[in-house]
Amino acid sequence: MLSRIAESLFWIGRYVERADGTARILDVHLERLNHLPLEEQRSVARELLAVMGAKPQSEDFGLPELLHALAYDKHSASSIAGSLGAARENARRARETVSQSLWESLNTTYYGLNQHRKDVVGTYRFCNWVLERTAMVRGLADTTVSHDESWLFMVLGRSLERADMTARMLSTRDVQSAGMSWVNMLRCAGAYESFIRTRRAAFGDQHAAEFLLLDRLFPRSIVYALRDADECLAKLDPSAQRVGFINDARRIVGQARTFLEFHRTDDLMSELPEHMERVQKAVTQASDAISRKYFNQADEHAWVGEVS
């Protein structure tokens, strides 16, 4: 398949997952934020934005600005509207490769972005709607696209972004040390019921963080997502080697995952920030390595002619 198309597919996967993750985080935190006194609300809004990897546009940054920056700003790649717009634009560029129904669901999602009230109440509905739409996009991608290279690139992007998003969810815990409970954190990832059923009475921050970080069976846990990414990379480049990896992305993803899986600790909570930072860094590096290997364009038009 064309490198350019592969790149588009990879980014469809990433952007859709990013919209999904951001909607989850926003939904849960909005509830907390609303109860805080104004001054605190403002500082927490700033911190939350920083965790999502963006900087406030103006000095005057409060709840409405946070909603704009994370949900409705069409020009920012870290907002929901921006991600879904970018996913749709990528699908438009790869339209002959993705299935018609996948394209249509992304396209109608894009046109639906404007049909929401942009206040706090409207944003709850908006987040819910985004979760539904992204679930639909993922479902259509899984059921109407052949599971060949093109699908693998989409899943690769999706898994990397998912690891990144879960890392951010866990990082938001620091933001509201006063309040973000482990219950909310699990709700954020849609993991509450799974967790309760698995761990039964073993509640607590430590266990919740462990679940989201290390569980081998919960699909949104970081270890699970990284393993998915690793499997995609292996299928994309099946050449077996006696020693080491030629593919940098595999090395980076594999190292991050195995470190987490085999690491032994008694005090996960104090190490958490470091783990999260490492995971996010690994995702960025892996993404770069994948572009270098698969999406390498021509060195910007070798031919330069004289212009008469």
């Binding site: 064309l2 490198s3 350019r4 198309i5 339209r95 002959e96 021509a298």
Partner: protein, 518 residues
């Protein structure tokens, strides 16, 4: 007839054009019987609701064209344009004839130029055409076809006669709307389809792909076909993706291609892959910076040489523009007689060649009655309709014509035929044209039954181009007789298929289970 057609006959009489649906006296023509019956049953609310849902579907499916950097849905009107079988038969033969003549003309012009030596056309006519490319002179493209895809624009004059308005043999666009319109209409106005056989259009992509594969360079068993697009900002980008998708081939941009050793390759995730046939959807000028515009970033250096060496087939061939030059158009009837020894089946529109002194003086005297067009324009660009133009516009035009008489032609203003079109809360007559598409695989010219009917949405307007506020209509060609005679085939009594089981079924597992439980 319901009140949706109130005032229609008066409006139709005002324009003085041939109406496709109603004969004089407001009687529906026979071919429109089914459509007019279906419309009669509908109230204004029904019609508007259906039109809205059709528009919504188009937006969701992304059936758009880019205008000034913005994606716009292409407006589709709910009343189809219907062409009876006998009229289509003439059009089909006429279009195919024209394509064969233009194919022969292009081969001649880029070869021996016998047509000039025999005095049919002046040499100057060819050499002064902006799209005559010396870079492709003197070789026959591999596959032997130059006009793989063409769109011949025809209109019907006030007397009801079809005439060719222009030929498009470079990159004719619009076929995607033909395919999408039919899908949308089948859902939007299903009542109008029943009881009559409308010829299907969905085989177009298959025909196109097989023609492209057939004209691949010699010695390639399983040719790789690609569609070459200028990119997502092109006004016809939707069409490029649709065709590539329906043919199941890659849609490439210039930067995805590399030429090496007169072969063309595309960059894929598995390294470089050879490309044999390029369905080119970009203008010649931007195709190859080595031969044409050296500042073009859309093409790929070396394509023309690769085509010359026979390493790749480019469809349509480079340099075809000389055949759809509007001054050459005025000679096409002569070309048909010269190459095919046949009389033209569809006539041209009367055309004044402004290079001829007498014609020029005549035209300059009556500019306000005529349409004046630039010879190499497309999309209605630069065209001036005399009766609608202001005095200043006409004066400016006069200067430009005198400065460059080779650059312009003049034609009488044609009252294009009309079809009822939804406008506000009723149907009104709106002018239409028709672009049938033909695919040439070297042995046979196949004409897509139907084509793109474009409609000017403003009352009285004669400009149907989408970039200037035009819309489209689904175009139905009625089959002569239903392809399957209903009574002949004796209906076999339906037998239920007997169930065969080949899997080793443990039919009594349920029993065993209970045994075990016991």
């Amino acid at each position: 007839m319901s009140d949706l057609f109130q005032d229609y006959s008066e409006a139709a009489a005002r324009s003085g054009a041939y109406d496709e649906m109603f004969a004089p006296g407001h009687v529906a023509r026979k071919s429109y019987g089914q459509v007019s019956g279906a419309l009669r049953e509908l109230s204004l609310a029904d019609v508007t609701a259906r039109a809205d849902s059709m528009a919504r579907t188009f937006l969701d499916r992304g059936v758009t064209f880019d205008y000034a950097g913005e994606e716009r849905p292409f407006p589709l009107d709910i009343v189809p344009r219907v062409i009876p079988a006998d009229e289509w038969d003439v059009l089909e033969r006429g279009v195919a004839q024209r394509v064969r003549a233009l194919e022969a003309f292009l081969n001649d012009v880029y070869g021996r130029m016998a047509v000039v030596a025999d005095g049919v056309i002046p040499r100057q006519l060819v050499t002064t055409s902006a799209h005559f490319h010396r870079a492709v002179h003197g070789f026959e493209p591999s596959g032997g076809v130059r006009v793989h895809v063409s769109g011949i624009d025809v209109v019907r004059d006030a007397a009801g006669t079809f005439r060719v308005l222009e030929d498009n043999v470079r990159v004719p666009s619009g076929v995607s709307y033909v395919l999408e319109n039919r899908r949308a209409m089948a859902k939007g106005l299903p009542e109008a389809f029943g009881q009559q056989h409308i010829r299907p259009v969905e085989e177009y992509p298959r025909r196109l792909l097989s023609a492209l594969r057939k004209t691949a360079p010699a010695g390639v068993d399983d040719p790789t076909v690609v569609v070459l697009t200028p990119g997502v900002f092109n006004s016809a980008y939707f069409e490029h993706t649709l065709l590539a998708g329906l043919m199941g081939v890659e849609l490439v941009e210039g930067r995805d291609l590399i030429c090496r050793g007169n072969r063309v390759y595309m960059r894929t995730t598995a390294g470089e892959q050879r490309v044999d046939v390029i369905y080119k959807r970009i203008d010649d000028d931007f195709l190859d910076p080595l031969q044409f515009r050296s500042d073009s970033m859309l093409g790929c250096p070396g394509l023309v040489n690769a085509a010359r060496a026979g390493g790749v087939t480019i469809a349509n061939a480079v340099g075809n523009g000389v055949a759809d030059d509007k001054l050459v158009y005025s000679y096409v009837p002569d070309l048909i007689r010269y190459y095919l020894h046949e009389e033209p089946i569809i006539a041209n529109v009367d055309t004044f060649r402004l290079e001829e002194k007498e014609a020029r003086e005549h035209v300059l005297d009556r500019l306000e009655e005529l349409v004046v067009k630039p010879v190499d324009g497309s999309g209605g660009k630069g065209l001036v309709i005399g009766p609608d133009a202001s005095k200043e516009e006409l004066d400016a035009l006069r200067k430009r014509v005198i400065a460059d008489p080779r650059g312009w032609i003049a034609q009488p203003v044609l009252q294009l035929s009309t079809v009822p079109t939804l406008s506000g809360d009723k149907f009104g007559p709106r002018h239409v044209d028709l672009r049938p598409f033909a695919v040439n695989d070297g042995d046979d010219v196949w004409v897509l039954p139907g084509g793109l009917t474009r409609v000017a949405l403003k009352e009285g307007s004669l400009i149907v181009n989408s970039s200037q506020g035009g819309g489209s209509k689904d175009t139905w060609v009625l089959a002569n007789s239903p392809q399957m005679p209903a009574e002949v085939i004796p209906r076999q009594s339906v037998t239920l298929r007997e169930q065969v089981s080949v899997w080793p079924v443990e039919s009594n597992w349920r029993d065993r289970q209970t045994e075990q439980q016991q």
